[in-house]
């Protein structure tokens, strides 16, 4: 089994390694598509809550990922005031990002189906 699959299926899962870039991207894109516009800290909280604290996105991976996706043109950013009146950088999906999300979701479903098939066989 490839190393990145081990990392996902051994709990508690820490989504941090470079190998998991695709997965981390998927999580961020999906969160942004749900939240509309959000800052990094909000994304961490959102993933934490929605996954029932099963997935914890590490800040050290989150910000490089956000900046890389912005360079790719999947998300855009702007400075705004948060609900607690702090200046924060808000990210939101671009059209290209929405397309990327659809593709990544599809891909993920296939991976999961494939992995499950292998696991059931074993």
């Amino acid at each position: 089994m490839p190393r990145w699959l081990c990392l996902i299926f051994l709990r508690p899962v820490t989504v941090a390694k470079n190998d998991l870039q695709g997965t981390l991207d998927l999580l961020i894109l999906k969160s942004l598509s749900h939240l509309g516009s959000m800052h990094g800290y909000g994304i961490v909280l959102h993933i934490d809550q929605v996954s029932d604290a099963l997935l914890r996105v590490e800040e050290g991976s989150l910000y490089p990922a956000l900046h890389r996706m912005e360079q790719n043109g999947w998300i855009r950013s702007e400075w705004a005031l948060s609900e607690t009146n702090r200046r924060a950088k808000y990210y939101s999906l671009t059209a290209a990002g929405k397309k990327q999300l659809a593709a990544a979701e599809k891909n993920w479903e296939q991976v999961v189906r494939g992995v499950q098939a292998v696991l059931r066989f074993a």
Binding site: Y41, E59, H67, R68, S77, R86, A88
Partner: protein, 890 residues
């Protein structure tokens, strides 16, 4: 907007730092807030938030890396890395940049000249509207053609002046050299005669004073008012403000200077510069056979060149019917009336320089391009060698996780840095080189004035050349180096891959390409050098050395230069100590002038060149009489008309009969009525007006029988002397000046002037020769490098061969065979290329065909010598190899 901001942020790293810091700071703050809300004390809350965040500096760096990965910052870093690398091997960098600077510089300089001569427009507003009206196909030698740019006669110009629907305005102009100052020490200056509309239609505003207007035109052809050019004003009038009494003595008359043209305006001819502009002379009655002016106009809005062309074509019959000259045969007049006018683009003005050098410059651009290509091939080989030396570095970087694209980018940036520095230095070098070329285009009597500018077109050109060279020499080595297999590279002890077959072949192909290209360049160089030599050693059939042409002008002297006076003048010149002989002529040989009459000889008809000379002409010019008799003093205006003809004349009009006693009848022309001449002598063929040209039929007639009505105000005296030309020239001026008031004497050294006329050929020979030698040197260096490299790679093999008993000569032969095979392949391809390329140069060659077997043989021989020299040293080194040492290395 945000994209711009990001780009700016990438350039300003500090700004980027701040933004990321702010973002991360906000995150920690929000986390702390939440922790406090969950019941932690502020200190604990902050500690917890920071703990989760990890090392802030590392974090920031990682984020910046993402942002900058594709950005300017990373490229700057790669450039810095490349510069550090070059600083470590300065020899390589120096050679690479110098080669490129030379190559790109030469290309840029030639392009700069081409740009100045061909691509630039006249410095006026909307130059593309300017069109010239010309006879389609020219006037084919009819009438009198005065001036290189002259296209139309005065009556035709006046017709166009009346009817010019396509043009919002028209003007006529001509170049007309003037004499400045006192007749005794008059100096020739470049005059520009313009019709009154000239400056307003061209849209030129005065720098000072006013420019010429229609009311300045005078019917008596005097020039009471003139306008001077800015450079003339600066040099001759000290750039002082024009006063009411600013005058110049022009052609012996005082002329008031009314204005100065702006600095950029040089006249209508690119490569020349006018000094004084005066109103165009419109004599009444007009000379209808004198083609002396050029007519141009500005197209009205909505008129295209094609429509204007059609318009002038349609009005031509009316114009030529109304302006037909008299005194010609009916057939000549019929030809005249069949002329058609057309409109041609004139945005670039006119240029003799352009017509003369256009082909040469294009060819030189091709030559310098090929030299650059050879230089690129050399650099590519250097880079390949460097790449194999750096294989270990690449392997380490690959092993540490650098992607292939990352390495490729790094390597391409390295060659880009080389190309950019080469281009930068090249453009600087080109400034000097192109100016040097312009200076070499000038001769004693024809100074070339060309504004050389460094504009966007030039910079674009050099940038394109640099990018192209970068692609040519950088891509293959970069692809190869970035392809390194880290495991294999690390395994070999010396950090170098054992030479595999593929690398061999790329370098081989490079060398073969270099040899074949340099073959083309050598053939071109040899062709031009031999062609120039042919011209220089050509015997024109007359004396060149020791001849001085004295042009004697009477326009200011009130002397009527009849034959009696000229007779006396020649006798005076002959009496000067050191002068062997002297004679007058109506046409200076080999100086480009031409005089033709239609003739009938018995039943044969055609045309022949005519020159009226005094009896001493043939002795003076060293032309021997073959049969019959020379002219004598008894051949006068009242005696029967006689002629001496050349061999081409006899072949064309007489055939095998004895030419002596045959009669020649000339067709009438204004001032030259029909004449019946008897052939009294024959001379060998001599060159006529151009040393390159074929000899036409030529007839000489005694000067005493020249039609009186055709006498001009100038006469040419050919002077033969064994003394130093400059002293004789001074003596002639002094003697004539002493005896005759206000007679202008200007002298020309015949031999020098003929050689000046070969300037284009000389320049082509020098430049192509220079580039040929450069190409040969580059090939030698390239071949040497590659053969040495091969020898190093095959050290073990050679060691084994020597150990097994191969002799020194066998080893040398082994290495030289390698060079021999590349030479063979290179010369075969090169010969084919040279034959194809040679055709484009055929019009510039003299006495040679582009497929000249001797030239090809010499080029192949030269390349063989080069290959021998380049491979001899490595071969000897291989032969001296100690087999034990070579094998122990493994």
């Amino acid at each position: 907007m945000s994209a711009m901001k990001r780009l700016w942020a990438l350039v300003k790293r500090s700004k980027l730092d701040h933004e990321i810091e702010d973002e991360l700071q906000a995150h920690v703050q929000m986390c702390t807030d939440d922790n406090v809300a969950a019941g932690m004390t502020p200190e604990v809350a902050q500690r917890n938030a920071r703990l989760r965040f990890g090392n802030p500096t590392v974090m920031k760096e990682r984020v910046i890396e993402r942002d900058a990965a594709l950005g300017v910052e990373a490229i700057m870093r790669d450039i810095r890395y490349a510069l550090r690398g070059f600083a470590k091997s300065p020899g390589f960098a120096l050679i690479a940049v110098a080669t490129l600077a030379l190559g790109i510089g030469a290309n840029t300089a030639i392009f700069q000249l081409l740009d100045a001569i061909r691509l630039q427009s006249l410095p006026i507003a909307n130059p593309q509207e300017l069109a010239e009206v010309k006879i389609v196909g020219g006037n084919r030698g009819f009438g009198i053609n005065d001036g290189f740019y002259a296209q139309l006669t005065q009556p035709v110009w006046q017709e166009i002046r009346q009817h010019h629907d396509p043009f919002s305005g028209v003007f006529a102009w001509r170049n007309n050299d003037r004499l400045l100052g006192n007749p005794s020490d008059a100096r020739r200056i470049h005059g520009l005669d313009v019709s009154g509309e000239f400056f307003s239609v061209m849209g030129i505003r005065p720098w000072q004073g006013r420019l010429l207007l229609p009311e300045d035109e005078t019917p008596d052809c005097k020039t009471p008012r003139v306008v001077v050019s800015y450079p003339f004003w600066q040099a001759q009038m000290g750039g002082r403000d024009l006063a009411a009494n600013s005058t110049l003595l022009i052609d012996g008359e005082l002329a008031e200077v009314v204005g100065v043209t702006p600095p950029g305006f040089f006249g209508m001819a690119v490569g020349e510069r006018f000094d004084v502009a005066s109103p165009l002379c419109e004599p009444n009655p007009a000379r209808r056979e004198l083609f002396d002016r050029s007519v141009m106009g500005r197209l009205k809005p909505g008129w295209t060149l094609d429509r204007a062309f059609a318009y002038f074509s349609a009005v031509s019959p009316g114009i030529f019917d109304a302006t037909a000259p008299t005194g010609y045969s009916a057939e000549s007049i019929r030809h005249f009336k069949e002329y058609r006018l057309g409109a041609y683009p004139a945005s670039g003005g006119v240029s003799a320089l352009r017509e003369q050098y256009d082909d040469s410059l294009s060819l030189l651009l091709a030559i310098t391009g090929l030299v650059l290509l050879i230089a690129c091939a050399n650099l590519a080989n250097l880079m390949l060698a460097r790449a194999s030396a750096r294989q270990r570095e690449m392997a380490v970087r690959t092993a540490l996780g650098a992607s292939r694209g990352r390495l490729l980018r790094q390597l391409l940036i390295e060659s880009g840095v080389l190309a950019a520095s080469g281009a930068f230095l090249g453009v600087i070098f080109a400034q000097g080189f192109s100016r040097f070329l312009v200076r070499s285009l000038s001769t004693e009597q024809w100074s070339v004035d060309l504004p050389i500018s460094t504009d966007w077109r030039l910079l674009l050109f050099s940038a394109a050349v640099a990018v192209l060279t970068c692609i040519v020499f950088g891509t293959v080595p970069a692809l190869r180096a970035s392809n390194a297999d880290p495991v294999a590279a690390m395994k070999t002890g010396d950090g170098r891959l054992a030479g595999n077959r593929e690398r061999f072949s790329v370098q081989r192909i490079m060398v073969i390409a270099q040899i074949s290209i340099s073959m083309v360049l050598l053939v071109a160089a040899l062709l031009f050098v031999r062609s120039f030599r042919n011209l220089m050693t050509l015997n024109p059939g007359m004396r060149e050395h020791g001849i001085i042409i004295a042009h004697i002008g009477f326009s200011l002297s009130h002397i009527s230069p009849d034959e009696e006076f000229k007779r006396q003048l020649v006798d005076e010149v002959r009496a000067i100590p050191g002068v062997n002989d002297a004679a007058t002529t109506t046409n200076d040989p080999l100086m480009g002038g031409s005089w033709t009459h239609g003739i009938h000889v018995g039943s044969a008809e055609g045309s022949s060149k005519f020159t009226w000379v005094s009896p001493e002409y043939f002795q003076t010019m060293g032309i021997p009489l073959l049969t019959g008799r020379m002219f004598a003093d008894t051949d006068t205006a009242s005696s029967p008309r006689v002629a001496i003809v050349n061999q081409t004349f006899i072949r064309q009009f007489v055939g095998n009969d004895n030419p002596i006693g045959k009669t020649v009848r000339t067709l009438p022309e204004p001032n030259y009525p029909t004449t019946v001449l008897e052939i009294i002598g024959t001379i060998p063929d001599t060159k006529y007006n151009d040393i390159r040209g074929e000899t036409p039929p030529m007839a000489f007639v005694p000067a005493a029988q020249f039609p009186l009505a055709a006498e001009g105000s100038w006469t040419s005296v050919m002077v033969w002397s064994d003394a130093a030309p400059s002293t004789i020239a001074e003596e002639i001026k002094r003697q004539i000046g002493k005896k005759h008031q206000n007679v202008i004497v200007q002298t020309v050294n015949f031999e020098t002037r003929i050689h000046d006329g070969l300037l284009r050929e000389r320049l082509m020979a020098i430049l192509s020769g220079f580039f040929g030698v450069l190409a040969a040197l580059l090939v030698m260096v390239g071949l040497y490098g590659v053969i040495s490299y091969f020898v190093t790679l095959r050290r073990n093999e050679i060691g084994i061969r020597v150990a097994l008993g191969a002799t020194r000569w066998q080893v040398i032969a082994l290495v030289m065979r390698d060079a021999g095979i590349m030479l063979l392949a290179g010369t075969i391809i090169g010969t084919a290329l040279a034959l194809v390329a040679g055709r484009s140069a055929s019009s510039m060659l003299f006495g040679l065909k582009p497929y000249d077997p001797a030239t090809l043989a010499i080029a192949i021989g030269l390349l063989a010598v080069i290959a021998l020299l380049a491979s001899w040293l490595p071969a000897r080194r291989a032969a001296k190899l100690d087999p034990m040492a070579a094998l122990r290395c493994e």
